[in-house]
Amino acid sequence: MKNLKKKLALLAALACAGTMLAGCGGGDDTTGGDTAEGGDNAAVDNGGDSAETTTMNEEEQAAANEAAAVELADDGDKLTILCWTGDDLNGMIDMFCSENPDYAGKVEWVQQGTAGGEAREQYKQYLSGDGDADLLVLEADWILEYLTDEYTVPLSSLGIDKSAYNDAYPYTVAIGTDEQGILRGATWQAAPGGFVYRTDLAEQYLGVKTPEEMQDKIGDWSKFEEAAKTVAEASEGKTAMTATLGGLWQVYQANRTQPWVKDNKLVLDNAEGFIDLAKSYYDNKYVTDGTQWNDGWYALGQDGSALGYFLSTWGVKDTTASVLANVEGCKDNGASWADNHGLYNICIGPQNYFWGGSWLAVSTKCDNKTIATDFVNFFTTNKDTMQKYAETSGDFVNNKAAMDAIVAAGTNSNSLLGGQDQFAVLAEAANGINMDGLITKYDSAVKSSFNTAVTDYATGVTASKDDALNAFQDDIASKYPELNWD
């Protein structure tokens, strides 16, 4: 932050000296003012070098975006995309090149790490060397770290401005916007989540036959708890409503009304409510003792220990490698399946939420402006190509019109969900996600740290709710000493 502020101040000062404009004292406010100290909050609008404004209307915002645009070279060899998900990129590049034969063989990816967390560190090392990189694939949890002048340039440098994303799901645009309100990242995929459940168990314990009936049973948190109680009692504790506390938290935290850090202070908002909920769910066996991404995670559904999972779009993709495919017992890379194949259905669940997703941003090293522009447009703004990509890859693309068209056509059928169209359910959920003003750069750390504290309390590692809250706050305090802790 300090570094960034210094740079901004320098920019402002240069602007002053160059144009001899009055009222540039605002530049100092950026560095010294109290509001700027709390400038980690996405709601604070400091638009580029027009630092004196505190709020901006859309026109000014657009102007700021325009002003921040950087001149990029266009003489590079190949478009190089930095990612940790080569598999996804392979499919994307294949499609991009087959639609644009001129670019065949001119797009490649470089994999850094195999998980988002690893990539976050390794990108910095890669970028500090002289390896080529035109586009970066970034994850929602740590995207803000890279949306700075040090690593990326505004999307306006490719001539793409915010208005191109009128059809995108608004929360994705909010996440791709940096702390100054400049759009630096765009995503090809939205990742709204739902509740996937085993239809046989749901019928046995809850008597539901269709996803609509299921949604009626678990449409809000109190209904969800009621249903969980029914399942636990009917199965004598053998089947829990949902798989993991981590998954539950992923959903529950979406009903926050305030950002995690506001005015440089940690805000608990609804967090305490979740501690109570988690403890009672765990004690009453509404949730299993399993952990996400652990080997036992998939088994929970296979042997009926859990009735359902909270999963988002990528988790229910109709492939042999998705989470749901594993839950259903895909064997030998798709050659054979356990009896659970197609036994699941999806509904929205108690709450709209999103989970995961990858964003594209333009590296400061970008030297292939034309291809980069075409690539970003192809996957994030062009409705036709995006719709085609969704149809071929099963990915939920970030374009309302495209998704609505697919849902309306009614052609999508997911074999993992017994032929149900997950897009129809999830498109509805995606419209209901609102992340405005809720994103901070602390989110990733805060979310996972809180999840750990709650799990420890629920499983009995920490003795009381106060201990759990203290452990959580201490953890954040040691990670972010710069926050205000009075």
């Binding site: 932050m1 300090k2 560190e121 799990t455 040691s478």
Partner: protein, 335 residues
């Protein structure tokens, strides 16, 4: 350490060879290690996270060592906890490890009581050490998984010993015991081989003489083996202590769930603390560097203490006269 030549006899003319011989080490060391080390000392005086560019003097040390406001208190408690964990985990793996290794090393080198298949045992016992910690940890996590899917839990449930799965990985005591076990399992063969090479370095004639004099194996062990093993023993102790203070991969990897926050608090050693703060989303270089500097001094002091303690009597006596020293070396060298 030992100088063979009586002082004043041609010793100066060979001194330059000493420098030649140690020069490659120092050139490489300065280039690849000293510069980064200086960097660490420098970083310990700078701020954390967002204020990494600000010089804060000794604030990191003050916070880590004495606490204060909430963030200071939090980091202080975290550091003290990790120091405690380090000591617990180190003692818990060093003591069984050294007892086991020493016992086996003596058994395997005993010329009187031959154990069948000694060669095979040595080979098998060293084997755990050649497997990467990542794999070992993954294996033990599957064995001791928290839920009913963990192999040990599944077995205990099948046998009816327990009705609810034991959370082996989360539980403070069980997780520490498992980590101590892994460390012992991985390293006792290594220590054993070191000790054996030490024992075999002892002049056989000493054992023979003792045997002719009718010494018991206990007497041989305490009067001959142990004293003469001192240099190697010292090496084992110091390296193990250093290894213990830097204990990192197993405690770091032994947890369920992904991400930094899943690391178990009861297993967070100082090295994990250092690594963790270095690799946070908003890295706390200051804390990491300060903790390393503290760790550096702690190990330095401990190392010197052990070294002094172990060598003082011998060396002081030896230092008194060069003649005695050369005699000493003759004895040790077995000539």
């Amino acid at each position: 350490m030992q100088s063979l030549k009586p002082q004043g006899r041609k010793s100066i003319s060979y001194a330059k060879y000493g420098y030649f011989f140690i020069l490659p080490f120092f050139i490489v060391y300065v280039f690849f290690m000293i510069y980064p080390l200086i960097n660490t000392f420098r970083l310990s005086l700078y701020g954390n996270g967002g204020s990494a560019d600000t010089m804060v003097g000794f604030q990191n040390f003050k916070w880590i060592l004495f606490g204060g406001s909430r963030p200071a208190k939090a980091i202080h408690e975290e550091f003290i906890r990790s120091l405690g964990n380090t000591v617990i985990l180190w003692v818990g793996n060093f003591v069984p490890q050294i007892i086991l290794s020493l016992l086996l090393a003596v058994w395997f080198t005993d010329s009187k009581v031959k154990i069948k298949g000694t060669g095979a045992f040595k080979v098998i016992m060293y084997m755990p050490n050649i497997i990467t910690a990542t794999s070992v940890c993954g294996l033990f996590l599957i064995l001791f998984g928290n839920t009913k899917y963990g192999a040990v839990n599944a077995m205990l449930l099948d046998m009816g010993t327990i009705t609810e799965p034991v959370r082996f990985v989360d539980n403070v005591t069980s997780s520490r015991i498992i980590v101590m076990f892994i460390q012992t399992w991985m390293w006792f063969g290594n220590t054993m081989i070191l000790l054996m090479s030490g024992i075999m370095g002892i002049d056989l004639s000493l054992f023979e003489a003792a045997s002719i004099d009718g010494a018991s194996s206990g007497q041989v062990f305490f009067k001959i083996t142990l004293p003469l093993l001192k240099p190697i023993f010292l090496y084992v102790l110091i390296t193990s202590m250093i290894g213990g203070l830097q204990m990192y991969d197993v405690p770091y990897l032994f947890h369920e769930g992904a991400g930094q926050d899943a690391i178990r608090k009861q297993l967070e050693t100082v090295a994990v603390f250092v690594y963790k703060h270095f690799h946070l989303t908003s890295p706390n270089y200051g804390y990491s560097a300060a903790a390393s500097v503290i760790l550096f001094f702690i190990t330095g002091i401990l190392g010197l203490l052990v070294y002094r303690f172990n060598t003082s009597s011998d060396d002081r006596a030896a230092a008194k006269s060069n003649r005695k020293k050369s005699k000493n070396s003759k004895l040790l060298g077995g000539f």
